[in-house]
């Protein structure tokens, strides 16, 4: 390459000076951030932006998805047979449970009707595949391949086969962003299944850990207790498993217990999640002094 290649660019920068541009662009950025954060005025723009970048995000994970699919289709016959046997056994057990479940559900509905309260059961579900892109290593967010076009809405609950997964924070036309229950900005109202004690489980930023900081010293919780969603706040359907208590630390110098739980949903391994619709109904006004029933909030 010659040192004296012809260069037709103007010698001086056209337009305003660099410093002025910096200030103008910085002000626009700050304005955007405030509008986005404080007022959510950019919701429409954000939705369309998410639709515009979705093809790229999809393309990024396409090779990985193709590899997984190929590996699965080439997996050996013996493994598939073993899977089949296991699934048949699982199915048998689940059907046995279901037999009792149907009669219990009937009974529950009769009792609820007698009390004139709504049952709030899941009415409709939609399977959404998780798009394998790494959004941010320090936030527990994932992208799924269903959007408002499929009826997905902001604040919709997502479950997997083992428990509650998270909720929708942003629903674009063809994709949606989910916040997991383990995100540090997420809180979910829960109930200890054994005793019925209500509390709130906060995310910690680590996928295998929830923290329950609002249980009083005399609360009856032990390691191994199952936490289910209490349904307060109306975001999550009540009665679905959330996690299992892993540690209970009683420090008598502290007013509150330090309790940790492990989410039951496979937050970092799920290939797909279940988005649910249910009649959230009215939140029953039950006074709860030690655990204020704030709704699970995302932003």
């Amino acid at each position: 390459m010659s040192l004296h290649e012809p260069d037709s660019r103007p010698l001086l920068l056209g337009g305003p000076a660099l410093g002025l541009r910096l200030i103008v662009l910085a002000l626009i950025s700050a304005g955007l951030m405030v509008a986005d954060h404080r007022h959510h005025q950019l919701a429409v723009i954000r939705d369309w932006l998410s639709a515009a970048v979705y093809p790229f995000q999809w393309a990024v994970q396409a090779p990985l998805a193709a590899w997984t699919a190929t590996r699965e289709s080439l997996s050996s016959r013996s493994r598939i047979e073993a899977d089949n046997v296991r699934l048949a056994a699982d199915n048998f057990v689940l059907r046995l449970k279901l037999m009792r479940f149907e009669s219990l559900e009937q009974e529950n509905q009769r009792l609820r009707a007698a009390r004139e309260s709504t049952a709030r059961v899941v009415e409709r579900t939609l399977v959404a595949e998780i798009v394998r892109v790494d959004l941010d290593p320090f936030r527990q967010r994932v992208l799924v391949n269903k959007g408002t076009g499929d009826g997905v809405f902001r604040g919709q609950a997502a479950l997997d086969a083992n428990g509650i997964f998270g909720q929708v924070t942003r629903a674009g036309p063809i994709s949606a962003e989910l916040i997991l229950i383990s995100d540090p900005e997420h809180a979910i109202p829960v109930q200890v299944n054994r005793t019925g004690a209500r509390s709130i489980a906060l995310g910690t930023g680590r996928s295998g850990l929830l923290s329950l900081p609002y249980l009083p010293q005399n609360a009856d919780v032990v390691v191994g207790d199952l936490l289910v969603s209490s349904g307060l706040g109306g975001v999550y359907p009540p009665g679905y498993p959330v996690g299992r208590i892993t540690t209970v630390k009683r420090d008598t110098g502290q007013p509150l217990l330090s309790v940790e739980a492990e989410p039951l949903a496979a937050l970092d391994r799920d290939p797909e999640v279940l988005l649910v619709w249910f009649d959230s109904g009215v939140v029953e006004p039950e006074p709860e002094p030690e655990a204020p029933a704030s709704p699970a909030q995302a932003e």
Binding site: M1, R9, L22, D36
Partner: protein, 163 residues
């Protein structure tokens, strides 16, 4: 290193867009968790490369646009990366002639400082917006990014010089 070899500075817009898109894709491509933690900020690196090469080529508009695209890709606050990237692009453009004359190691050190400034602005905006990430591992990406600088320069130079 930038400056040690003469690089074409009149790169067409398709190539600029191509490099930017590659950097965006590299910043969300699925990686194992431990690698994801120390993923360098590729978009910041290429923005620095363009700013050092010639601020006339792309100006701050490119840095701003790439930042907005990164915000959209990662689903964070709109304008967050845009702001931090125009700041480092501005500093790099102002000190361009000095930085280009530095020996390789010193150049990487300056890049380290600029990447740190970028990450610090992110950290600060995260805090102001009410979701601080105080995990020390978020700073891992800064030295890794500085270590990747020679590779980024080599790649971009080749990509830009191809006819």
């Amino acid at each position: 290193m930038i400056g040690t070899r003469r690089t074409r500075t009149n790169i067409g817009w398709p190539r600029i867009a191509g490099i930017t898109l590659l950097a965006l894709v590299a910043s969300v491509a699925p990686l194992p968790d431990w690698l994801d933690l120390m993923r360098p900020d590729f978009v910041a690196l290429i923005v620095l490369w363009f700013s050092l090469l010639s601020p006339r080529l792309t100006g701050l508009g490119h840095a701003w646009g790439a930042g907005l695209a990164l915000d959209a890709f990662r689903g964070v606050l709109l304008g967050q990366h845009a702001l931090s990237l125009i700041v480092i692009a501005y500093v790099a453009a102002k000190l361009r002639l000095q930085i280009r004359a530095f020996p390789p190691l010193q150049q990487s050190a300056v890049i380290l400082a600029l990447l740190f400034l970028n990450e610090f602005l992110q950290f600060w905006i995260d805090g102001v917006a009410g979701h601080p990430v105080t995990d020390w591992r978020r700073w891992l990406a800064v030295p890794v990014g500085a270590a990747c600088w020679p590779l980024v320069v080599g790649f971009c130079t080749r990509f830009a010089a191809r006819r």
